[in-house]
Amino acid sequence: VKKPSETTRRNFLRTAGVALALPWLESLGPRSAHGAAALGRRRFISMNFPNGVSNFWKPQTTGAGSAWQLSPILEPLAPLKEQVTVLSSVGNYSPWNGHVEPSHANLYGGFLTCIKASAPNNESRGISVDQVIANAIGSATPIPSLQVGLSTLDSYTDGLPAAHSRSVSWAAPDKPLYKLVDPQKVFDTLFNVTTPARPDTSAADKSILDQVYGQAQALQPALSKSDRDRVDEFLTSVRAVETNIANLAMVPACMSGTRPAESYGVSQVPPGYDRNKHADIMIDLVTLALQCDLTRVVTFMLDDARSDFIYSFLSQRNFTLAGSTPSPTPMPISGLHGLSSSGDSNSGWATINYWFVQKLVRLCQKLQAINDGAGSTVLDQSVVWFGSEMHGGNHDGFDLPLLYVGSGGNRLVVGQHIDFASRPRGQDLANVYFTFLNKVFDIGVESFGVGVGTYADAGRRIIPEIVVT
């Protein structure tokens, strides 16, 4: 449901017809009303990377303020330290009832769902936390949620359905959303510029889709059950595109960017492909999407599960527990999975981890620069969830590298390192998501994920340590 003030703002933007980049226009409407609306505009961004981290992730002490210091890998977060909370001794054990070695794909597939990903027939995979949020708040924006990623490799999938490794967002147990890796596709998704806009296009498109729909519908009675199901899928898709065309007039004309010149696909990258540039373009696009309030829910896969992408654009930093320094002579980094399997203290692996954190920082600093009204920034109103599906070379689903940036509108405690090691089984990842859903996004869920065995109670408890009271 769109509030009148929203309509006014969008009308204004459309009338202006030019690049307007502010989701919050101070000049429009009574300040108090807009202030309230702005504070209600919370975002969830999940930025994930695979294969866990090397030894240099965990801060050595816990607490708030000067009681804890950033670890060598987290060092790029220094300018944001007061907006960061690092969580240690959190595990995604609940789907498996404790430790098993469930493979890269299983862990990644279950990272945002906390449900076992490879049960027979895949029947017990579930909805991911970002999609629960999108279902609750997605209708407020033209795009309920956005999934992007950087993997240009046809990555290894552990012999499991590829979606486990390549999709962290799940709309339903059988609906992996995958992600867009092509910057142009992301831009087009945001601004729907794939076809030249002409005044009569929408009506013409709609008349075509009506015919397509009618034909396929007429075919259905002559088909057997399973083929009818396939046609159903087709009809639903056609109808959704038709509805989207009808809704296009509502998209604000907020275009402060131009369509990227770069186009990448899986197994399709130009000579001289630069992963760092790819990441930066994607970060800019995600920023644009959030800035223009085109969506409030984003998942960003920095790489796919078990990626062995060769990060040769990075030169090794030499890590010790005290910090890291660039290698005096350039030392290109090799494949991520190979490094993550070559001992937990290798600097090559840590260098890739460090780069992941740099990309997180880049995104967060951009969000911090956007005024969201009432003295607040988009970062203040966001939870930027950052982490990996496994601890590290041990393939363990416990003591995951996890942190969040942003308090979600002053709902979450920030500026801390919290270690749940003193609890008998640490903390359950499902409880973290349960807390996000209930305490940041005010979605009254009774549980999240499916815990089994002694973990049957996972995903049902608020974690008081991270909630602002």
């Binding site: 012999g159 959704a240 989207n244």
Partner: protein, 526 residues
């Protein structure tokens, strides 16, 4: 064989039970052709089809969302109907591509003239002619009168709205390119609730054949046969014609590309620091060699799959394999390689694609062979990867790790195969030692206890294993039908394997294409 145009009601199909209606639950009955789901074109098929239909050089589907879906069973080919779902995001891409391709066609008079073959008069005859002719190619079957009328009415109304015949034609072509009969391979069951097998129409069969061999729409010759294509001699003749046409590269690339690792090789990560001999030129040559090797097998007995000396080598590979007189740059030549590199297991491409970037992994190679060549896959957890360096034997470290982590029950079933290939490093170069102190030990064993020493003995052992031929048939059968095989397909696969008797891949394709599963279908219980 039946005369063309005869239908299943009047003639029992070959191999069907006498009454032509298998009982339910007798799915393994060789007379039951099984079912293929309504089948969306995959990305390669879409691009090839759009290119052949419209004459454009664009490949819009390369930018589409991956065809792979969560429902795609592991190891399924990318043309398996089960995995080819539709979603709003996918349909948006199809719709956008249709509009954009139509704009491109209409901006090129020569291409436009292939579709707009007449000028309008006061009747809708020209529109109907265009729709009828384009429809036959776009929907890969003649349109019904009702369909032509409905599309002509749509075009007429668009012309009335815009006053522009060209705009009307653009819209109707966009409509046809956005329609289910273009985007899917549609096969109809006259009685959707009946399990009685019936023949595919000639157009449906032409579509199956064409997407099998060319990954694209049927050409005009194939469509012209109509139901005559169901005649054995016509079907066999067309199969050979199409296989001998250069467009059958699409089959080799899609089938061998997936089954034998060609596609994975093209993007496989190799660490240049570990292998200074590695280059992109070598990768390209190895990939091409793998495809040429498979193409050679089309007319060579399957017994040579693991043993033949015939390899296809260009100058880059000549140096790589250590030929005394490498061929001149450019072309590939069929040569007998010096010792060791025999058959498929001797291909540099195979040995590379089954290795991690900087070393060999007997587990990965072994499980790859078990999965791809013997159809006996084992759960792959992606590797604990004991600390291994290029200078040490993986056998010792692997055995220690496997024993310590209690993983032997699985690893003993496939590591042994990989040990037999340890004489080749991570890019397939022969070696007799890892370092001066660590000699290669290439003794290994199959999961049935057969022992061997080195690649040649391994190849001989695999050649004696009945699973090898069954697995080749299983993969070819699955790709040809474009569906995932289920337990009740075992009997169909066995029957094809026995009829084929380890002939050539060409004869295997003949056995499959002329068999019931390829030429027939049935409904299913409501």
């Amino acid at each position: 064989m039946d005369a063309p145009g005869s239908d299943a009601d009047s003639a029992a199909p070959d191999g069907a039970s006498p009454d032509g209606a298998p009982d339910e639950g007798v799915a393994s009955d060789a007379g039951d052709p099984g079912r293929v789901l309504l089948h969306r074109l995959n990305r390669v098929e879409y691009d090839n089809t759009a290119k052949d239909l419209l004459g454009l050089a664009t490949t819009p589907a390369t930018q589409f969302i991956d065809d792979i879906s969560a429902e795609t069973p592991s190891g399924a080919f990318d043309n398996a109907a089960e995995g080819l779902h539709m979603s709003p995001e996918r349909y948006q891409q199809y719709f956008d591509a249709a509009k954009s391709m139509v704009e491109s066609v209409w901006s090129d008079n020569a291409l436009k003239a292939r579709i707009v073959t007449c000028a309008p008069d006061t009747t809708d005859k020209c529109a109907r002619d265009i729709i009828t002719a384009f429809g036959l190619r776009a929907w890969r079957r003649p349109l019904t009168d009702a369909e032509v009328t409905s599309l002509a009415t749509f075009a007429g109304s668009a012309q009335k709205d815009t006053g522009d015949f060209q705009v009307a034609m653009k819209r109707v072509v966009t409509l046809m390119l956005s329609s289910l009969p273009f985007l899917y391979k549609v096969e109809m069951d006259p009685q959707p609730g009946s399990l009685a097998p019936h023949r595919l129409s000639g157009y449906e069969l032409a579509t199956r054949l064409s997407y099998l061999l060319w990954s694209t729409m049927p050409d005009s010759r194939l469509l012209a046969f109509g139901d005559e294509l169901q005649q054995d001699d016509v079907l066999a003749g067309e199969l050979d014609r199409m296989l001998d046409d250069a467009r059958s590269d699409a089959f080799v690339h899609a089938f061998a590309g997936q089954w034998l690792g060609g596609r994975a090789l093209a993007i496989h990560a190799v660490d240049p620091a570990a292998y200074p001999a590695w280059s992109e030129g070598l990768r390209a040559a190895m990939t091409q060699e793998l495809y040429l090797f498979f193409t050679g097998l089309l007319d060579r007995p399957f017994d040579g799959f693991l043993t033949t000396d015939a390899h296809y080598v260009n100058d880059v590979l000549g140096a790589y394999y250590g030929l005394a007189n490498p061929p001149a740059p450019g072309k590939f030549y069929s040569v007998d390689l010096p010792g060791g590199h025999r058959g498929f297991l001797g291909l540099g491409g195979f040995l590379t694609v089954t290795s991690p970037p900087a070393r060999t992994s007997p587990s990965t190679r072994g499980n790859w062979v078990m999965t791809h060549l013997l159809c006996t896959p084992h759960a792959d957890h992606g590797g604990m990867n004991p600390a291994l360096g290029p200078g040490s034997s993986p056998r010792v470290a692997l055995n220690l790790t496997v024993a310590a982590a209690d993983c032997t029950s699985c690893h003993k079933l496939f590591d042994g195969v990989g040990f037999g290939l340890e004489s080749y490093d991570g890019i397939g170069q022969f070696r007799s030692s890892y370092s001066p102190a660590a000699l290669v030990d290439a003794t290994g064993s199959l999961d049935d206890g057969t022992t061997f020493n080195g690649a040649t003995e391994l190849a001989a052992a695999l050649g004696r294993d009945p699973r090898l031929a069954t697995c080749a048939v299983r993969n070819t059968f699955s790709y040809a039908l474009g569906r995932v095989l289920a337990a009740d397909d075992d009997a169909r696969v066995a029957s094809v394997r026995d009829a084929w008797a380890k002939g050539t891949f060409r004869s295997l394709l003949h056995t499959i294409v002329l068999g019931d599963a390829f030429r027939m279908r049935r409904g299913e219980k409501p």
